[in-house]
């Protein structure tokens, strides 16, 4: 099924190894992010780095870029061992990383953004025209025809990302690391053309993505990570969807989650013609009692915005959200909660928890009322019950919630929502950064709510999670609901096709 990790490096007709990663390990607290990972990249080669969320791809890219230091292991460039202390060292050694998160400076010019790594060497005098002239060739190489002296903020979002690619090229890298960059680009094919032109100049690329199609399109080889371990190395001929996804997941869909057979009841959540600033096309969704409906879509497609709108965290301009027949006022979280809506937001530390406060305080957040006194003893007893009932592993209920692992912190968020016995549970990336064991427990908790007749809307970028859990999947593309797939019709390919905006006319 998968090639053993110990397999000898695949032979290639390409050049010598430019980058050699040997036995790199990294742990964060008690979480093992990378365990003795090897990676070899030769001149002019594209190596895809593949894995689920939390498999260690971004940790490795951060180590390559000098933003993180490995606990053990070595990185060699052209045979010489490197010790990167800070990002600058990696740039100097010839590794440039373009990250998933936007890294542009809005109020600097395009030229300054492209030449950002060089600004420190131009310590004295900057001639804007000379800077523009120096940046121009790199902007051209990524296909941007704008004036280098305009500010980045005046560029539309789809093109700002190209400026970051130009910045990477301007450091004259031998290895370019692209970390989930295509999720931010409206036209990945354009990037691929840029990359192919650079390959001809001898550049090597580490290409991190979770879109299987892009791997087949660009990569010469693929290295698959799972839970921080390199589990497979696939040659070009082996880059079929089945091979990659089975290596990524290492378990079949059936093991992933056992959907209970619940007969859906009446409609509980009804979203009718909802229009938001992010989503100009009206959206209609119905979720029945005992049903899990998935929301698929790429980063930036409006998944989180949709869930936040239903929960009253955002306003909608038109349309109506009704829960059990009651229409919710726009942008009113308290009314939504009173109607039985609970949201597990995408970023638990920023949106759901008060990191420095205790597990108890975080669990009791929903109970505070202006006219009611807080009751420390009662809160503590309730917290003890929740910890037992939801299997939250914490040293004590009065430790700060920030001290918990990702999975246990997420269980605190879930416990707070489930304690309110919600009629509608909105889950946004519920298992991001959660280890495998906690993941199964979270699925179990969600499943129990479904048994009791709860209605669930689940947004996730983990396709296998959606396919395993959901009765139906709706797909968003650029703020628009572009299709709905029944459990039987849903496949990774079908969802991906819709989510990337492909073959729109063929869909109902």
């Amino acid at each position: 099924m998968t090639t053993p990790a110990t397999a000898s490096p695949l032979t290639s007709d390409r050049g010598d190894a430019v980058l050699q990663v040997r036995g790199v390990s990294k742990t964060f607290g008690s979480v093992r992010a990378l365990a003795a990972v090897d990676l070899e990249v030769r001149a002019g080669e594209v190596v895809a780095l593949v894995g689920e969320n939390g498999s260690g791809k971004s940790t490795l890219s951060n180590i390559l870029g000098g933003a993180l230091r490995p606990d053990s292991g070595t990185i060699e460039m052209g045979g010489a061992t490197m010790a990167f202390v800070r990002p600058r060292d990696a740039l100097d050694a010839g590794i440039a990383v373009v990250r998933q998160e936007p890294a542009a400076v809005p109020h600097l010019s395009l030229a300054e953004n492209v030449l950002l790594p060089r600004l420190r060497r131009l310590a004295v005098l900057v001639d804007p025209r000379a800077l523009a002239a120096a940046a121009l060739p790199y902007l051209r190489r990524v296909g941007l025809d704008d004036d280098p002296m305009t500010t980045l903020a005046s560029l539309p979002p789809g093109r700002r990302e190209l400026v970051e690619i130009a910045r990477a090229l301007a450091t004259h890298p031998r290895v370019l690391v692209l970390d989930e960059v295509t999720t931010r680009l409206p036209d990945p094919e354009h990037l691929f053309a840029v990359v192919e032109a650079e390959l001809a100049r001898g550049l090597s690329v580490v290409f991190i993505t979770h879109r299987l199609r892009e791997i087949r399109r660009l990569a010469h080889r693929a290295v698959v990570l799972r839970d921080g371990v390199k589990v497979a190395e696939l040659a070009r001929d082996d880059l079929g969807d089945e091979r990659i996804s089975s290596a990524m997941v290492g378990r079949s869909l059936g093991e992933y989650f056992a959907k209970r057979d619940v007969v859906p009841g009446e409609v509980i959540l009804r979203v009718e013609g909802v229009v938001t600033d992010r989503a100009p096309t009206p959206i209609d969704i119905e979720v029945r009692s005992g049903e899990i409906v998935g929301v698929a879509g790429l980063v930036g497609s409006g998944r989180s915005e949709l869930l936040e709108t239903i929960a009253g965290a955002r306003r909608h301009r038109h349309g109506a959200v009704t829960v059990g027949g009651v229409t919710l006022p726009s942008g009113h979280t308290r009314a939504a909660a009173a109607a039985g809506v609970a949201l597990v937001p995408e970023d638990r530390l920023a949106q759901a928890l008060i990191p420095a406060a205790s597990v108890t305080s975080n669990l009791s957040l929903r109970h505070h009322r202006l006219h009611r006194l807080a009751h420390a003893g009662r809160e503590r007893r309730a917290a003890d019950q929740s910890v037992t009932r939801f299997g939250i592993r914490a040293a004590a209920v009065d430790v700060p919630v920030a001290a918990l692992s990702g999975g246990n912190a997420q269980k605190v968020v879930l416990a707070r929502c489930l304690n309110a016995e919600p009629a509608v549970l909105l889950l946004d990336e519920p298992t991001r950064g959660v280890d495998v064991g906690a993941r199964a427990e979270i699925y179990d908790l969600v499943g129990r709510l479904v048994d009791r007749g709860g209605a669930i809307l689940l947004a996730s970028s983990d396709l296998l999670e959606l396919l395993g859990l959901c009765d139906r999947i709706v797909v968003l593309h650029d703020g628009e609901l572009v299709g709905e797939l029944s459990r039987d019709d849903a496949s990774e390919e079908a969802v991906t096709l819709l989510a990337t905006g492909g073959h729109r006319e063929e869909q109902p």
Binding site: A123, L136, M149, T150
Partner: protein, 336 residues
């Protein structure tokens, strides 16, 4: 539009350059708020107060605001990286009393001035700079603490008394003399402003200040030494405050432990009125100059018109808040 990648750069089409007019328009837009109120103020005062539009009055406005301008120039650097320094008044007091102590001990005035400015810069780097930029403490907490600390040191050293410098011809001359009819302290403030503009606009250091304020993580990953930049802006700002204390002492011919009380907030209002973003990364010293001029003209006009000078605070507060409210609605970022 996105073109296909050009492998032959010479074949690339000519860049699409916005017209000079549109660029000027965009620049004016940035200062729109303060420019409009400043223009209204000048027109109204010019029409109603015959003394307002005279050379002598203009010199008075510049002279009374030279100290504020020097402090505001330094503070602009800090606001550009997204910080604030509430200890600038305290730094001024400590510098003024330090200079008085040196002169009292027989050190030549010009040596004392150089020592005070250098020492002020060093203290800014070593205390506020290291604690905020290197250790990573909150700029609010640190500078509230150092504000109290510096003011306390100045009061202790001076015995709580204002100290006369009337005997010192050099300092008296600094406050009184003119160069081609322009007071020396105005010339010095103008030089500070022009040097600051040059540094921010045309040096790699200046562009790194904008980069760190605009997106610190992007700057760090691009290899920019963000700790050095953060430490340096507190050094520059404290150095400017020390120089401002020297100019202030020259103008008043005395050194006071109460020098510069509240000036950091007035200077902050001027910088923000000039369009600099409180979150960093955006703003110019030209805007800061306009902000200082607005406050100066306002106060001058109220004095000429015989209106209570306390109205200065009320009007500048309302204008500042109105400016940020207008900006908020224009960028349309109310509730998502």
């Amino acid at each position: 539009m996105i073109t296909t990648p050009a492998t032959d750069t010479r074949a690339a089409p000519a860049p699409r350059r916005p017209s000079r007019l549109r660029r000027a328009g965009r620049a004016a837009n940035q200062y729109a708020g303060v420019l409009v109120v400043l223009a209204v103020l000048v027109v109204v005062l010019g029409a109603t107060q015959p003394q307002f539009l005279t050379g002598g009055n203009l010199i008075i406005i510049l002279e009374t605001n030279a100290v504020l301008l020097v402090v505001a120039v330094g503070l602009t650097f800090i606001l550009l990286v997204g910080g604030i320094d509430l200890s600038l008044g305290g730094t001024m007091a400590m510098s003024a009393i330090g200079m008085w102590g040196l002169i009292d001990a027989g050190v030549p005035a010009w040596v004392a001035i150089v020592v005070v400015v250098v020492a002020g810069t060093a203290v800014g780097a070593l205390v506020n700079g290291l604690l905020i930029g290197w250790v990573g403490l909150s700029f609010l907490v640190v500078t509230i603490g150092t504000a109290s600390l510096y003011r306390g040191i100045a009061n202790l050293a001076a015995g709580g008394q204002s100290q006369s410098l009337y005997e010192n011809a050099f300092l008296v001359g600094l406050g009184k003399n003119q160069l081609f009819g322009v007071p020396i302290i105005v010339v010095i403030a103008a030089v500070v402003l022009l040097v600051g503009m040059f540094v921010l606009r045309s040096t790699g250091y200046g562009r790194m200040v904008y980069a760190v304020g605009g997106n610190a993580e992007a700057a760090r990953l691009a290899g920019i030494p963000i700790v050095t930049i953060r430490v340096s802006v507190y050094a520059i700002s404290a150095g400017c405050a020390a120089l401002a204390a020297v100019l202030d002492a020259g103008r008043l011919t005395s050194a006071s432990p109460m020098a510069g009380t509240g000036i950091e907030l007035t200077a902050g209002a001027a910088v923000l009125l000039g369009g600099t973003s409180f979150t960093g990364g955006r703003g110019t010293l030209l805007g800061t100059l306009l902000g200082v001029l607005f406050l100066g003209v306002l106060q001058n006009g109220l004095t000429l018109a015989g209106i209570s000078p306390f109205w200065t605070g009320i009007v500048s507060g309302v204008v500042l808040i109105a400016a940020i409210v207008v900006d908020r609605f224009r960028t349309g970022r109310a509730m998502p």
